[in-house]
Amino acid sequence: MPPSDGSREAVDLVVRETIAVVLPSVPAGAIDGDKHLRDLGADSVDRVEIILMLLDRLRIDEPMSSLSQLPNVDALVTFLHERCH
């Protein structure tokens, strides 16, 4: 489901929940926004899965290539938040 209020905080929560689903060993509360998904232990297939789940959950229609060079989790949240509106 899309975040109820569309706020950055709500998108941030969705991102953390989604990462934790794909990477069960990484608790949502322990995700450092400065880190790349790679540094959290996500391999390339995990990263594809996280991005696809996020685009689906937030109902964002965006080419995956637009998200391939975001430097960290915070940048991913910002990108998705901007596309939610």
Binding site: D43, S44, V45, D46, R47, V48, E49, I51, L52, D56, P63, M64, S65, L67, S68, Q69
Partner: protein, 414 residues
């Protein structure tokens, strides 16, 4: 165009070298995280020996096809296209050597195509259009996708999944392997630097840029196909799917993405569909590694040898090349495909490759770096590898690089 004309792949063979190393051995040797093996879905990778190069791979893949033709049929090979991202010269093509060692007609057009892992499909489609045009009835077009791998530990998890070898595809009006659905295709291309070979000694790749471009192209090439072919349903139109295979795990992720988007299936149904429609095409690729522009044709061979069709099946094929260009097209395989491919004994050849230790592998990597580097003079002692050569149960002659004289590559049959 003759409305009743069938066009497609008459013959197919792949050559994937004489040596392989288990992917697990590379993981252990490089200290890579073994938890990542599961998502890769790769088990072995082929490695060339120092006397193998893009020319020997191409000839060794195509020779059984050409030798099986009678002399009149062989004369009808009117176009030879080598598809490679492993060029050996800025001007002289791989095809020029291949034309000679296959003994093809001197009236044959000889060219080389480059668009990373896509070029062979572009060549096959242009060959099919030439045959279908009817401007030279009975003509055949030989497309050979041929590459070598130059990766090492600098590319982390890409190293264990790169392959080497060639796929030879004979296109004609007598399709026995795959009858191409003429006019049923969708293409999608845009500029990106996802992976490249800026120098003849190394590759560069941005994994996320490349994987995401592949997945975007899969979607949009399919949508372009659907625009041309009314009523296409990703889940129902194709009995099987054959996709460019950088590593099998990406094909699985791509199938899952497409099924979610176009079939809205649940996870269990998607997994079941993957095993039924996609997995048979991955058996060979997971033992060879990424065969670059030959990968989709290795996957087609894997599908036919694994399923051994006894009736007609429609296959959706997806080809992707970094940079990037892609195509989704389709065709039909049937019982004749099973018979036509069986004689190549691809599975047996893969099983007979010599297994390398990690130390052997590292030594070979160093030798192989020089494979594409222009050198005025060079000598290669083919006999050093006689133990591996002698281990083959198929004793057909193979082409081997024995040296370079004044920039001219020199070969011998071994």
């Amino acid at each position: 165009m003759d409305e009743g004309l069938q066009v497609g792949i008459e013959a197919l063979n792949v050559y994937c070298g004489l040596a392989q190393i288990p992917v697990e051995a590379i993981f252990a040797g490089r200290g890579l995280n073994e938890e990542r093996l599961a998502n890769l879905m790769m088990y072995e990778r082929s490695l060339n020996l120092p006397f193998e190069d893009p020319i020997t791979n191409a000839v060794n893949a195509a020779k059984p096809i050409v030798d099986a033709l009678d002399p009149e049929e062989k004369e009808r090979i009117e176009i030879l296209i080598t598809s490679t991202e492993s060029g050996i010269d800025y001007s002289k093509s791989v095809a020029s050597y291949v034309h000679d060692f296959l003994g093809l007609n001197r009236q044959c057009r000889v060219i080389e195509a480059k668009q990373a892992c896509y070029a062979a499909t572009g060549a096959v489609q242009m060959g099919a259009a030439y045959v279908a045009s009817g401007i030279s009835p009975g003509a055949k077009v030989l497309v050979i996708a041929t590459d070598v791998s130059l990766v090492d530990e600098r590319v982390d998890y890409t190293e264990p999944v790169m392959g080497a070898g060639a796929a030879a595809v004979l296109v004609s009006g007598r399709p026995r392997i795959l009858t191409i659905d003429l006019g049923a295709f969708g293409t999608h291309s845009f500029e990106t630097l996802d992976s490249a070979r800026p120098d003849p000694t190394f590759d560069i790749a941005d994994v996320d840029v490349s994987l995401f471009a592949y997945l975007d192209c899969l979607k949009h090439a399919f949508l372009a196909y659907r625009d041309r072919v009314e009523g296409t349903d990703f889940a129902a139109t194709f009995d099987f799917l054959v996709m460019h295979t950088p590593f099998a795990g990406l094909v699985k992720a791509g199938h899952r993405k497409m099924m979610r988007e176009f079939a809205r299936e649940g996870a269990a149904e998607i997994e079941q569909d993957f095993k039924r429609r996609v997995l048979p095409s991955l058996a060979y690729g997971s033992k060879v590694g990424n065969l670059c522009s030959g990968a989709v044709y290795l996957a087609l061979a894997s599908l036919i040898d694994t399923v051994q069709p006894d009736t007609g099946y429609r296959v959706g094929l997806f080809s992707y090349g970094s940079g990037c260009s892609s195509e989704f097209f389709s065709g039909v395989i049937d019982q004749e495909s099973t018979a036509a491919l069986a004689g190549m004994q691809i599975g047996r050849h893969l099983a007979e490759r010599s297994a390398l230790t990690f130390d052997d592998y590292e030594g070979l990597l160093k030798d192989n770096y020089g494979c594409l580097v222009p050198q005025k003079e060079r000598d290669i002692e083919v006999g050093r590898w006689s133990t591996i050569l002698d281990r083959r149960s198929d004793r057909r002659s193979l082409l081997a690089l024995k040296g370079v004289r004044n920039y001219h590559r020199q070969y011998e049959w071994v």
